[in-house]
């Protein structure tokens, strides 16, 4: 099965994951289609970050199957890694490389050196142009997250996984990020992001509600008819209530 033949960019089937002492994910089934932006909602400790790590091939599920572009991680590891990026909630950086050197290194590591101009545009768009020659260790939390976003977006991945992207960044950058995500999705990419908040006016295509390591609700965002900026917090609560109420 070729990569191009796939319509479901990310598919997780029966995924369970445990740390040493606790089961974090239980029988998670989830798929994100090409051109789709999906949002993962849930309380702290619900398993959102672990789910994203499993989806990115950073952690190996105890049970179940993760397929990206129709392929499991394994032989095609390197090809797949070119196609997906995970930005964690506290992105790490090398102490001894400047922001611009990070961009250059990451692009070269992915054999995409020709995208440096695009990366410069993104640095400017996120307000990091003037700080690009400084070490990320001198950056604020928001600037560090924006640098991680620049690195991710410059790669133009087929699947972008973002952990709490709107928390650390300012509203202007959040709006800019949403436009970039929409552009990525329009070009056929997929985005799965975990978040407690979305920029004003932003409307994802699908949502998943995760609680206690299980998907308790999911569906298309359209038709919910809600203003996400004000009612996103209520979504997990209503999903939980409906899951707990007797049929």
């Amino acid at each position: 099965m070729t990569i191009e033949a796939q319509t479901s960019t990310l598919m997780m089937r029966g995924v369970s994951f445990s740390y040493a002492q606790a089961t974090v994910l239980r029988d998670v089934n989830l798929s994100v289609a090409a051109g789709e932006i999906a949002v993962l909602i849930g309380r702290n400790g619900a398993g959102k970050s672990t789910l994203l790590r499993c989806a990115a091939g950073w952690s190996s599920p105890r049970e179940g199957r993760v397929e990206v572009l129709g392929q499991p991680f394994g032989e095609a590891d390197r090809q797949l890694r070119r196609e997906l990026v995970l930005v964690t909630d506290t992105p790490p950086f090398y102490d001894d490389l400047t922001a611009r050197e990070h961009v250059s290194f990451v692009l070269r590591a992915n054999h995409l050196g020709q995208r440096e101009t695009e990366a410069e545009r993104l640095l400017d768009a996120f307000g990091l142009g003037n700080a690009a020659d400084a070490y990320p260790s001198t950056f604020s939390r928001g600037m560090r997250y924006k640098l991680a976003l620049v690195l991710a977006l410059a790669l133009r991945p087929r699947l972008l996984l973002l952990d709490e992207p709107f928390g650390p960044i300012d509203p202007v950058s959040a709006r800019e990020l949403w436009l970039e995500l929409r552009a990525l999705a329009s070009a056929g990419g997929s985005v799965l992001l975990s978040s407690h908040q979305l920029p004003e006016g932003a409307a994802p295509d699908r949502f998943f509600v995760l609680d206690g390591g299980t998907i308790v609700d999911e569906g298309p965002w359209a038709g919910l008819g809600i203003d996400c900026a004000t009612t996103l917090d209520g979504l997990p609560r209503s999903a939980l209530e409906s899951a707990e109420s007797p049929a």
Binding site: Q21, W58, D77, R78, R81, R82, D96, H102, A148
Partner: protein, 501 residues
Amino acid sequence: MMGDLMLLVWLRWRHARGRADYWAALAGADLGSASVGERTYLIYLAVLFGAWFVAMIAAAASGAMGMGASLGESMRPAVVSLAFVVPSLLVGTLGFRALRSSPVKLTFPDIAYVGASALDRRAVALSSCLREVIPATLAAVPLSYLAGSVAVGMGSPQTAAGSTAVVGALLVSAVFLLAWAAGLARIRIGSRAWRSMSWVAAPLVALAILLPPAATRWPGTALVIALDGAPVAGHVLALLVVIVIGVWLVVVAASKMDMVAVIDESALYAQLEVFRPLQRYDAGAYGDIVRRKRLAARRPMWHLPSGSGTWALVARALVSHVRQPGSLVWPVLWGAAVLPYVVVTVVHPPGLLAYFPPVFFFVVGPSRQLLHVFQQDIDRPSLREVLPFNNLSLLLVDSAPVLAITAAASAVVMGLQAMSSEQRVLGALLCLMLGTIVVTCRGLERLTLPRMRAPIGYGISATISVCIVLYAGAAGSLWLACAAAVAIVVLLGFMVRFARE
């Protein structure tokens, strides 16, 4: 692959430069400056430290030759046995390490930008491997040279030192590469079924190259021939062939390396890497963090045994040691080696200068690790408040398992000594007292005596205590040394009892 390898070499060079910046700054140099004066100063520093290093190695080699001469020809069989044990130990430890978890270790930034990138797996593995093999090989050169110098002192030709350095370095390099290849083979894609038990192979192979037949003992034989100063060209060539094969195996095994497993198994390393700079300033605090992180990554073993009051504390201390089995190594080490060494010095008083080694080992030995249970109680005021025991009771009860293991190990070792029965019994008793002194001195370091501003450091209290015991042994008898040790224990006990946290 070569392009990716060069990119990773560049990255590691940047890291190395960052560390060099730190050390250069300590010597007042600025690596970033291009001025002629700064460059000249750097050259001066390089020459100075180079000359210092060579002078130190020369002095150490001279000392090693002296040691060889004092050991004499009669000790040669023991040195030969040791030469056979060294490759076996290397294979056992390096093999175990590589097979227990992924030999490729990634930091958090590495996970995000190297592990999760499209870089060639072989380049990732090879660059990580070389980063470990090259420093280890360089470190093996002077160490092997010193071992060769001991052999020269025992009567081997002068060429033995150089030959041993070459063979030792190549041997280390070969073992590292083969261990890496085995470790990478373990984490190849689709090999999960036997991963957890694969480390068993390391001690088995280590045993195989320790025991006859001669063919499997070749690494040790090569080392023995080098120590004898005989021609080693053939063995050097054979080792070079093994190294080339090792590199090839690393590359082949890395082509199927499971990057998910590498990232998974790098989790603890990545967490600890964040704290690694602390190691330079407070190795003990860093050791504590390592211990805690390792513990957190494991499933809790054993349940807290029932018991109240003092028994609850003993049960807690037991559980703490059972859940961190590595902590039991230190009381065994103290009980089986350090304390009997001090006692043997008391029984057979040597010349004045020969007192230095037992005092040194007693004071500098890893004593902090003996006290991790008490340390947890003292370092957490909220926890200390809910424990209704005075400091002395808490110290002794928390350290009861440690003291019991130390005493048992000492009793076994003293029982094997060529001494009279009375000396053995008194020796075991003195070991117990010395063990208690170590624990109370360490405990005293965490407390402050009334009317004192700062605690008494372990170095001071332990040095004074062991010197008094050694002096009593030299001046009188083992009985007197025991009496002195008991008196010191009582005094230290009072000090701990009335000290405050």
